[in-house]
């Protein structure tokens, strides 16, 4: 049964209005980034850019060395964390999904609890620990906690993925004389690729956005990541430098945007399945 034309029209109208509201902040930031500085701070303001310039993009990309530094820091920290999470969650998820061992249910219950507890509870001890070890203001300062904090998600997703592999495949491989390691690397892991992709995308989006740990553990400007660095730039300038800031925001969202649009379905799968199991 199909809805009446008039009902559908109303639904489209509401949906369009909603979409506009959600997109408006992005549009405004893009407009700001393209206006000449004089126009950005003219009063009354102009909604649409009267003239378009790329000078702010040029400035941020080629002259703002802080921004490049933050981008680089975010890239390294996110990249290394993702690699470690991918490896350890596909190893650990395999154990949780396909093996029986003492303490398994306790471990699963514990990582479930972790998902509900706010990150700040761990932050104070980690700050104390990293101060004592002298690893604050380094790549390691964020990589280590980021791996730990995102592992519960990865473990859940990978556990579910490995559990879904039919046991006939495992039995056949054993009869063929596969060792445990071969079974995992040659048979199981290739079958778990979709789960691994989900894990990597979800954790990429979380880590690239992370703020609290980054603002606490990287007090030296040299080591800041984008979400903290851009706030730092704003505070340093102490003025309305929103023309350049808009560019910095757009450029730092770009990797997230590309990954999200290209691989949206993996992200959705991770959110829904991660939650269903939890």
């Amino acid at each position: 049964m199909i809805r009446k034309k008039s009902t559908l029209l109303i639904l489209y109208l509401i949906a369009t209005l909603v979409a506009l509201i959600f997109l408006a902040p992005f549009v405004w930031i893009i407009f700001t980034s393209l206006k000449p500085s004089k126009e950005v701070f003219s009063y009354p303001i102009t909604l649409f850019p009267r003239s378009i310039t790329l000078e702010h993009y040029e400035y941020v990309i080629f002259k703002m060395s802080d921004f490049r530094r933050y981008f680089w820091n975010s890239t390294i920290i996110t990249g290394v964390s993702l690699a470690i999470i991918a490896i350890s969650s596909s190893l650990g998820g395999y154990a949780l999904g396909r093996k029986n061992f003492w303490g398994k249910n306790w471990f699963i219950a514990f990582i479930l609890l972790v998902l509900a507890i706010p990150y700040s509870v761990y932050l104070i001890p980690i700050f104390i620990m990293e101060t004592r070890l002298g690893i604050k203001n380094s790549y390691l300062a964020l990589i280590l906690p980021y791996v730990a904090l995102n592992l519960p998600w990865g473990l859940f997703i990978m556990m579910g993925t490995f559990r879904g592999v039919p046991s006939e495949i495992e039995d056949a491989a054993r009869i063929d004389g596969c060792s445990e390691y071969q079974l995992w690397s040659k048979i199981m892991l290739p079958l778990a690729k979709p789960g691994l992709a989900t894990t990597i995308i979800i954790t990429f989006i979380f880590i690239w956005q992370e703020f609290i740990y980054a603002v606490t553990l990287q007090t030296d400007a040299r080591w800041k990541t984008l979400p903290v660095g851009i706030v730092h730039i704003r505070d340093e300038l102490q003025s309305l430098a929103y023309d350049n800031l808009s560019v910095a925001i757009i450029l730092s969202l770009l990797p997230l945007f590309i990954v999200f649009v290209a691989l949206k379905d993996f992200f959705i799968k991770g959110i829904v399945e991660g939650g269903l199991k939890g």
């Binding site: 049964m1 992005f26 303001i45 650990g92 509900a116 509870v121 956005q209 309305l240």
Partner: protein, 298 residues
């Protein structure tokens, strides 16, 4: 397939080896900190002056209630949470219902609502400080051009009565899409035959949504509810970036206050206590939400 004690032991051994890297990270950076910060709640520990935490029993849990800033941050967090939770659950459900009905262009509408998910909360804060700027911001400009002169000159983030609502709105913008994802997955998992049958019986649009679909997506409701509770109580980045907790203590939240106590004043015992109270709130409300939605399900 495998039976007997030795093969069980062997299987366990293999499992432990596979789990070891993840286990190590979780023990050192989650389990140990969880226990250590619980210990800290029973101590006084000035990180700058004291060489070690000083055991004081439950003193922190008692004296915290005489701290005016703590009371305001508790109040602000609860007010924020109630409004945020009610609005995010209601609107994301309605938006999911509407998007589900659309044929052509559904992907576009989904993407529009999901897109703010990729914006870090801190940068959402920076964006909205600009959007809400009293003079050069687009929001007030639109209000003024619509004829709302008085509203169009307001400094939303600096005004005592509008700062907290403004932070609610920014957080909603970021997270509504998150719930829409979950609700859409739920709605689309309800069998078409159930809906068709109801339509043959002649139910209205709202009856179909709230009486036919809603009872069938209990799991998704409770999932979205849990995510929203966590989001509603751990408010940090947006006030940190936009208002610094001000004006006065109008937007000081528990999370922000705990953070400032730890890393501004270095009072680790007190900060850990506030963090644990915040965690307890989240767990309490999650429990409540689970109970409520479960009972409704039976």
């Amino acid at each position: 397939m495998i039976s007997g004690r030795t093969s069980n032991l062997r299987e366990s051994g293999v499992a432990y080896l596979f789990l070891a890297p993840a286990f190590l990270f979780i023990v050192v950076f989650i389990a140990y900190p969880l226990v250590y910060s619980f210990y800290l709640t029973f101590t006084e520990y000035d990180f700058v002056y004291d060489s070690a935490p000083k055991w004081v029993g439950i003193k922190q849990y008692v004296s915290i209630w005489r701290d005016k800033n703590f009371i305001s941050s508790l109040k602000n967090t609860l007010v924020f949470a109630v409004f945020y939770y009610a609005i995010v659950m209601f609107f994301s459900l309605i938006i999911a219902f509407i998007i589900d009905e659309l044929g052509k262009g559904q992907t576009f509408y989904q993407l529009a609502v999901y897109l703010p998910i990729i914006v870090p909360l801190s940068l959402a804060g920076v964006m909205f400080v600009w959007i809400l700027d009293p003079t050069f911001g687009v929001f007030n400009h639109i209000l003024r051009s619509l004829g709302f002169e008085a509203l169009g000159n307001k400094n939303w983030l600096a005004d005592y009565s509008t700062a907290l609502p403004a932070i609610v709105v920014i957080t909603l913008w970021k997270y509504i899409g998150f719930n829409v994802i979950i609700f859409l997955a739920g709605i689309q998992s309800v069998g078409r035959s159930v809906i068709e049958a109801a339509r043959v019986d002649g139910v209205s649009f709202f009856q179909e949504k709230f009486l036919v679909i809603l009872p069938n997506i209990k799991i998704h409701l409770s999932m979205a509810s849990l995510y929203s509770i966590v989001q509603a109580i751990k408010v940090f980045e947006v006030p940190y970036v936009t208002t610094r907790g001000g004006p006065g203590t109008a937007t000081l939240t528990l999370y922000l206050y705990s953070w400032r106590t730890a890393f501004g004043y270095f009072k680790m015992g007190k900060a850990a206590t506030i963090a644990y109270i915040t965690a307890a709130l989240i767990i309490f409300f999650s429990f409540l939400s689970n109970k409520f939605l479960e009972e409704k399900g039976e």
